[in-house]
Symmetry: C2
DNA sequence: ATAATTCAGACAAATTCTATCCTGATTAAA
DNA sequence: TTTAATCAGGATAGAATTTGTCTGAATTAT
């Protein structure tokens, strides 16, 4: 049960953009300072753009910046933008197996666990994270 | 962030064995009633044996049964036996990247999340689950 | 002995992860 | 208006992981 490298990169990236929310930054710069493979980051930023977390600007002087304030972006937003919903177990989606023969008594446990995880991620926004990093 | 099919199968299997903790059951039977691919289950049971969750009996009339009482086996035991420790993020293990340039302020969040998940899984044992299933 | 069963390891298909590369679209500035 | 910089989107591909299968050896009740 791990988050992917991709999600980790996405978090680093949003963290970077959160440090100066007004500036437009280029893929290349973010990639270099945050040690993320450039072309991979490019793909990640496309997902973040489609999810409405960042805004993109094309052409010369183009780049990316946050679409909203750091305090309005949660870890959950980023995780879901990249990996999709926090499912924990597929049977939460594909119920067919669960329903037959009362097999899946564990199902409610996975659902509960999922809620827990979501809540914790939801309650953590990038404004807080930035504060933590400036305290170092 | 999902558990694997393998873990799901393992849980189903322990659930099955928990219903009659004294009986020795064969791979084939478990596989058929719980809809798990037989040879895959065979591998899974080997892991569960090595982790000390089930006991194996070879030869004619051989099979598997729980190594301890259902109430002494938690979901966490099973998940860890199959997938290894609940890591959430690799940086919890490989700290080298985190430490340089104070990059990973998110690290404590992953650690906290991991503890949450572990606790919830630890607090759920197979005796409780069986009770739930008999209530259906 | 024989038949039934697990054990251990090798093998392999499918899927997901982790990228890379190329072409085209867009845009600021010269 | 041309040019250079930059993102968008699709195709591709290697590696790792997941999800199994198969076979032969070891064990054991009868």
């Amino acid at each position: 049960m791990e988050i992917t490298r991709e999600t980790d990169y996405a978090v680093r990236c949003i963290l970077h953009l959160s440090e100066s929310p007004e500036e437009i930054k280029m893929v290349d710069g973010i990639a270099k300072t945050r040690l993320i493979p450039k072309s991979f980051l490019s793909k990640i930023l496309q997902k973040l753009t489609k999810s409405g977390i960042v805004k993109s600007y094309r052409g010369v002087k183009g780049g990316f910046k946050l679409a909203r304030k750091p305090e309005e972006i949660s870890l959950l937003d980023v995780v879901e933008a990249i990996d999709g919903p926090v499912a924990i177990n597929r049977c939460a989606v594909d119920k067919r197996l669960c329903d037959l023969s009362s097999m899946c008594v564990v199902h409610p446990i996975w659902v509960e666990l999922r809620k827990d995880v979501e809540n914790r991620l939801k309650n953590c926004n990038f404004s807080e994270l930035i504060k933590l990093s400036s305290m170092k």
